[in-house]
């Protein structure tokens, strides 16, 4: 094998054309012992990526290798089918075989690989015990709760000791309480799994908590990669900003000022020049009835366009010249008697504004810029 192929881990560089309208481009490296989260909205191409890596869908171009072994390479016409790959998959909706018991479901992968029956059952029972499913082995999937089914699916994926673990929306079918509980179970088992792990999710909490590295995927392409903090604090697209709850503004920087087209904003960094992306957290913005002076603050007059109650907190949407989402306490809102249509002064400290150069990154930057102008995605 030529080139620098990692000795252990998954390397994916793929293009899949599903139709004239949809194409998936993905470039990932997952070292052994690392969890990469692929975070994106429905229809972004996440499940297509799972199918390709699992061997259920050949790629159109690129290369997939696992621990240095080529799994899919259209150029040299190599395609290892799903049943010959050592990949454990927890599918969306789990896809437990409805006609088989919990025991038979989990033992399925061992029996197809010709492990003797007694040995397969012993190993299966061991995994069922580990996941707290020992008493359920005779049940059919239809008689399991969502949380139990999720653990059965996890056991079925892990029992064959695969080289790679794929999890496609593993928690999305669960109610909120069960989800929180199982997120911990999942975290433990991800940590215990020695190989590379790929988590597909549309839930930022899941991605932020379980992923060592996060790739944000939109419309078939990765729009941002980084750690949870990178995505949260420095989102590069409207989608990522919405996930993090931050305001995202594009503009042109020059000598500590950014022209957004409708407003000039002061920033703390006066070195940066050219195209930039600004992030302002909703709690970093203050609202006042009158103009306030002093300190390097940005301040302008606007109207309240929308008021949204979130328990003891309130989220406001302000109007032109710069539309922002602002979060404050309900007490503060009541004191200022803010309602839709109120005229207010908005203030943001320059030091509270995140600034990053809007340079080209991972070849997907055109999407990032596309996604910026609209106030709502």
């Amino acid at each position: 094998m030529e080139g620098a192929v990692a000795p252990s881990g998954l390397e994916v560089d793929l293009t899949i054309r599903r139709s004239d309208l949809f194409q998936l481009r993905l470039d990932l490296v997952i070292p052994a012992g690392t969890t990469v989260a692929l975070l994106g909205p429905n229809g972004a191409g996440k499940s297509t990526a799972v199918a390709a890596i699992a061997g259920l869908l050949p790629i159109d171009a690129g290369l997939i290798t696992l621990n240095g072994v080529v799994l899919d390479d259209p150029r040299s016409d190599v395609f290892v089918p799903a049943d010959e790959r050592s990949v454990g998959v927890v599918f969306q909706d789990y896809l437990l075989f409805p006609h088989l018991s919990v025991l038979e479901n989990v033992a399925f992968g061992l029996r197809t690989r010709r492990m003797p029956r007694e040995q397969a059952l012993a190993r299966t029972r061991n995994w069922l015990e580990r996941l707290g499913l020992g008493s359920l082995e005779r049940r059919k999937p239809g008689d399991l709760s969502g949380g139990q089914a999720q653990r059965v699916a996890l056991a079925r994926a892990l029992v064959t000791e695969p080289d790679l673990l794929l999890l496609d929306e593993p928690l999305s079918a669960l109610d909120v309480t069960t989800r929180t509980e199982l997120r911990h179970t999942l975290a433990e088992h991800l940590d215990a799994f020695a190989g590379p792990r790929l988590l597909i999710t549309h839930d930022p909490t899941e991605a932020f908590l379980l992923g060592d590295d996060i790739h944000v995927i939109e419309n078939g392409a990765v729009t941002q990669s980084g750690t949870a903090d990178d995505i949260r604090l420095r989102p590069r697209t409207q989608y990522a900003a919405d996930l993090a709850g931050a305001n995202l503004i594009s503009g042109t920087a020059s000598a500590g000022r950014v022209d957004t087209g409708s407003q000039t904003v002061r920033i703390a960094d006066d070195e940066i020049n050219g195209a930039v992306l600004l992030t302002i957290h909703p709690t970093a913005i203050s609202i006042h009835n009158d103009r306030i002076g002093g300190s390097p603050r940005n301040s302008w007059r606007t109207t309240v366009e929308r008021v949204e109650l979130l328990g003891t907190r309130v989220r406001l949407r302000t109007g032109q010249p710069l539309q922002l989402t602002v979060e404050l306490t309900e007490a503060a809102r009541a004191e200022m008697a803010l309602t839709t249509g109120s005229t207010v002064w908005v203030a943001v400290k320059a030091t509270e504004i995140g600034v990053q150069a809007d340079h080209v990154e991972t070849g997907a930057d055109d999407r990032a810029v596309d996604a910026v102008p609209g106030p709502t995605a």
Partner: protein, 270 residues
């Protein structure tokens, strides 16, 4: 129960009486002939009539033909259904049309077509006859072929529908667990469509058991060789009406037992 509580119980208002009347009228169409038949049964002579050579020969032949037709349908009809459901090929609609044609074609026409194809001077029948000496028309094999021709479409359309409605992702899941194509078929696909398969087999058997037109046209009407129960009824109606009634009763009882044994879940799978 007052009308008010009836309304509350069903949630959608009172049972509409017009529907009840029309539904009962529809039911009458099935029940009245059955009653007519039962009214004519010579109960005291029944044991003797049913043990006559004509009847036992015909019953044996009917069972052989219907069970064989069902078995052949299982062996070749399921793969055909799978191809129609899963493989995209040019002319698939045409093939599906041809397969389902026997459902709408008068069985006599089917029998005639079989005769032209498999008869002594037929397209395929002649070479087969010369090579093996096997002559399908007027033989028990001919009865089985004619019966299969008429009954197999029931299995094919039922199984094809089930294969189409099945969530293909289960097969993918099995593949990621190391299952080869054949194992996927045996351990996942077939068990998952089992209710439809059973329903299709029972329907196929029931249609085969009652087959008349194609059999009489293609295989003739020879007692002990090609005369099945429906044919025996037809012959007996001319001369021995009591025998005809006795055979008819026998067919009604056998068919009803099988159809009632079809559990609800299998009906649902249709």
């Amino acid at each position: 129960m007052s009308p008010r509580s009836a309304r509350r119980r069903s949630g959608v208002g009172r049972l509409p009486s017009l529907l009840i009347v029309l539904g009962c009228l529809g039911l009458a169409l099935f029940v009245v002939p059955l009653a007519g038949l039962l009214g004519r049964v010579p109960w005291s002579d029944l044991p003797e009539l049913l043990t006559s050579d004509v009847v036992t020969d015909a019953l044996r032949l009917s069972l052989i033909a219907s069970v064989s037709a069902t078995a052949i349908s299982l062996v070749v009809g399921v793969p055909l259904a799978w191809l129609l459901a899963r493989v995209e090929f040019w002319g698939r609609s045409l093939v599906r049309g041809i397969v389902t044609l026997p459902l709408v074609l008068p069985p006599v026409v089917g029998g005639a077509a079989l005769l032209f194809a498999l008869g002594r001077r037929g397209l395929v029948g002649e070479p087969i006859g010369e090579l093996t000496g096997l002559l399908l028309p007027f033989s028990t094999w001919g009865v089985i072929v004619a019966t299969t021709f008429v009954a197999m479409p029931f299995l094919v359309i039922t199984v094809e529908g089930a294969l189409r409605n099945m969530d293909l992702r289960f097969e993918g899941a099995a593949a990621t667990l190391g299952a080869k194509r054949w194992t996927v078929m045996r351990r996942v696909t077939m068990p998952m469509i089992a209710p439809s398969l059973v329903a299709g087999l029972v329907l196929t058997w029931a249609r085969a058991f009652g087959e008349f037109g194609a059999t009489v046209t293609f295989a003739g009407n020879l007692q002990g060789r090609t005369q099945t129960l429906p044919l025996a009824v037809f012959v007996a109606l001319e001369s021995e009406r009591d025998t005809a009634v006795a055979i008819s009763l026998l067919m009604v009882v056998v068919s009803l037992v099988v159809l009632i044994a079809l559990k609800d879940r299998w009906w649902k799978a249709l």
